[in-house]
């Protein structure tokens, strides 16, 4: 596999980066970077780290990095994570610079500890912290419960002063959404599987409305809704499919939630290089974080409508003869 860190790859312009990923030769990972500088979203670092775990330290090739940006990779813990020499003199600092270095989470207890420890590092207000910990908890639990990846979930996050946003990347190299959702549904391709996974009340564990005792099929819909209300990017990449929730155009226009992710302002593709597992990235603006409870009112309305509509589709009309 080959992965190249370009000058710039954030959620808004991530498509060329994803298209450049070469998934062939699954036993090796070759990491290259732009020689001058690079500036990338945490999703990308989590992807590189997850691939590194997959192939193992002895199968990672990484050229000697000359770019100044290599310090960023050092700070985010990528070299330590991959077990490769960075060639950088290290002066360790407390990670209080509003970032969460790359972390692997393999079980429920580790997740609980991670969430408790990470929020203080981001120095955000309580109402902003509420969305962030919600997103991380639900996404990582999805990995732990559904991905069947022995390496668990790889997570990192970074605050960006200029845009006043926090970027979060959560990645696994497990089953992928299509295999998970198709335990109960029959999505024809990865994009249809992503669409189903983002629809409220749809879970791979059952077709029954209301889900099972542990899964309702609501987690990803909640997260997409948080991103929609906050007017943020949200990317989900699995198999050959990629769905990107785009920022809504006008800040003054009232934001609408939709049960079908394809009714939201988005871009998508089904011809991306195959990602074994699921990679999710989100950027959360801290400028206009609405009250979390207000957001829940909107979610409640649309969720309820979606369930009613889905039930209505199964109604049978009386036959009058």
């Amino acid at each position: 596999m080959k992965i190249h860190l370009p000058n710039s790859a954030f959620l808004g312009n991530i498509d060329p980066f994803l298209k450049s990923f070469d998934p062939s030769n699954k036993d090796e990972l070759e990491l290259t970077t732009n020689p001058k500088w690079f500036f990338v979203h945490p999703l990308i670092l989590s992807m590189v780290a997850a691939l590194g775990l997959l192939v193992g330290r002895s199968n990672i090739k990484c050229e000697k990095l000359e770019s100044k940006s290599r310090h960023y990779l050092q700070r985010m813990g990528l070299f330590r994570f991959l077990g490769i020499e960075s060639g950088i003199e290290v002066t360790e600092h407390e990670p209080a610079g509003r970032f969460i270095p790359l972390t692997r989470i393999k079980n429920s207890g580790e997740l609980t500890r991670f969430i408790t420890d990470m929020i203080p590092l981001l120095h955000v207000e309580p109402k902003q912290a509420e969305s962030i910990r919600y997103i991380i908890s639900e996404l990582v639990r999805n990995v732990l419960e559904h991905a069947q990846d022995k390496n668990g979930a790889v997570v990192c996050a970074q605050y960006y002063k200029k845009s006043n946003t926090i970027g979060i990347g959560i990645v696994d190299t497990g089953l992928g959404i299509k295999r998970t959702i198709n335990q109960s549904y029959s999505a024809e391709d990865d994009l249809e599987a992503i669409q189903l996974a983002l629809t409220p009340g749809v879970t791979g564990t059952t077709k029954k409305e209301g889900g099972t005792e542990l899964n309702a099929g609501a987690g990803l819909f909640f997260i997409k809704s948080i991103a929609t209300i906050n007017r943020n990017f949200f990317v989900i990449y699995s198999g050959n499919g990629m769905y990107k929730l785009l920022k809504s155009k006008s800040a003054s226009r009232r934001v609408m939630l939709h049960a079908d992710p394809f009714d939201d302002r988005h871009s998508k593709g089904i011809d991306f290089p195959f990602w074994q597992g699921t990679a999710v990235g989100i950027s959360i603006s801290l400028d206009n974080t609405p009250e979390f409870s207000m957001l829940l009112d909107l979610i409640r309305d649309i969720y309820s409508k979606a369930v009613k509509e889905r039930k209505k589709l199964r109604y049978r009309k009386p036959k009058f003869v």
Binding site: S108, L111, R133, Y134, E138, E209, G210, R300, V307
Partner: protein, 95 residues
């Protein structure tokens, strides 16, 4: 019977394994004894839909909507209250 959630789960109630454990080991036996159950959310700042689902969805399914007459949610802040309402809504709409 009253269950203090903060003692078990802390200020962010998100661990659904613990939610299931509370349901199976404490709530269900209490309901089966004919008792009412109070879930005390004092000091719980927030929760997730997954946690609340794991805590109460199976109760609604097994005991019917009427079980909500026997469970009391105490000292919930706005966020916690709304997440409980969402789960109660969609479970009562389900098959």
């Amino acid at each position: 019977m009253t269950i203090n959630l903060y003692k078990t789960i802390g200020s962010f109630a998100e661990n659904k394994d613990i939610a299931k454990q509370l349901r199976v080991e404490e709530i269900v036996p209490a309901l089966d004894r004919g008792e009412e159950v109070t879930l005390d959310f004092t000091q719980v700042e927030s929760t997730t839909q997954s946690f609340v689902h794991a805590l109460i969805s199976e109760l609604i399914r097994d005991y019917g909507n009427e079980v909500l007459e026997r469970i009391h949610f105490k000292n919930c802040n706005e966020t916690v209250k709304k997440i409980i309402e969402i789960v109660a809504d969609y479970m009562q709409q389900s098959d």
